[in-house]
Amino acid sequence: MKEHPSADAPAEVTNPPGPGTPTAEDDAELVRRTRRGDLSAYDQLVRRYQERIYATIYHMTSNHADANDLAQDTFIKAFHALKSFKGGSSFYTWLYRIAVNRTINFLKQRRHRTHLSLDNLDANAKNDPDLVAFVSEKTPRREVSLTELQEKLNEAMQQLSESHRLVVTLHDVQGLPHEKIAEILDCNVGTVRSRLFYARQQLQGFLSEYLK
């Protein structure tokens, strides 16, 4: 789930980098084949987006088991709803909308029983320049471990409202640009910016002990 481990600022992940990058045309062709009943085409679509959809849901729930169920559910619902997909937006945006709606509905139902079940940190986290700088310079508690920071960060994220947590997840963690987030959430860019600002302010308050 290392979308941009070395980026100074969140970079766009709407079009995955590197050669062989899937394009919107590829998606459209795979969608057409899936509609004709070709399950192998849908298998390709799932493999293409499974990590990003899982990551979005995981960062919203901070629970691996819930993220697993919801991510599978998202792809299954998307398959059944594919006939109504008109192509007004990209398949990826449309899929994201389904994932976000499904996750928010789930979070509303489980509002008062949050249980963290965090994924393990990748070993490369210790070498990330941002994290090295953060642990060694910024925080007054230099003895703090990355695992402890991870736990505190997830607890703070869970204190945000769903809409604020979502913009932090999509922008600061996953690196989507404001415009893309506005498209996914069907709101204007100003709303995304203001939610992001407010969410960061709140997070800063929750994590003040670590952010001196």
């Binding site: 941009h4 599978q72 059944h80 490369n124 994590l207």
Partner: protein, 165 residues
């Protein structure tokens, strides 16, 4: 809003930690397979109408959420909707009564004796009551049609003998 990105620099650095949270190794190897099995064996996972509205008409969902969160607003919207319906019904009844009044004004002219009626038929329609109607496109015509659908209609006089008691 975020015109001072440096003010969140520490937070941004801390948030990069979340990018390193990974599911167990091999988790994604059979994820797609699980999805395909789910598609074939979990028909109940098909999206409901409410769920479809959620991603196809998000504004409608937001509106419903606002109404759910604010019962007073929901009540006000309900009152406005009911009021609009009542006004619509009253307006429709008013238009109907106007039409009835116009019909009543026309009716005496139709009830004239045969001789006078023939005179009326041969006169230009000058009486306002005869031309007044709410439907401008369908002005009443008291002149018997010579043709129906462009064809001359043959007619034949018939006499019905009544048996004497």
């Amino acid at each position: 809003m975020d015109s001072k990105p440096e003010s969140f620099e520490s937070l941004r650095r801390l948030l990069t930690l979340k990018r390193y949270e990974c599911p167990p190794p091999g988790y994604f190897d059979d994820f797609a397979q699980q999805v395909l099995i789910g598609i074939q064996h979990r028909p109940e996972s098909a999206p409901t109408t409410a769920e479809r509205l959620g991603w196809e008409l998000p504004w409608l969902q937001r509106f419903l959420e606002i109404l759910t969160a604010k019962p007073a607003l929901a009540g006000a919207v309900g009152v406005i909707a009911c009021g609009a319906m009542v006004v619509g019904i009253l307006q429709a009844e008013r238009l109907d009564s106007l039409t009835v009044v116009n019909d009543a004004e026309i009716q005496p002219a139709l009830a004239l004796p045969a001789g006078e009626a023939a005179m009326v038929f041969n006169q230009p329609l000058e009486h306002p009551a005869l031309v007044a109607d709410t439907n401008a496109l369908a002005q009443p015509s008291l002149i018997p049609p010579e043709e129906l659908f462009g064809r001359n209609l043959p007619y034949q006089q018939v006499k019905f003998p009544f048996p004497s008691p």
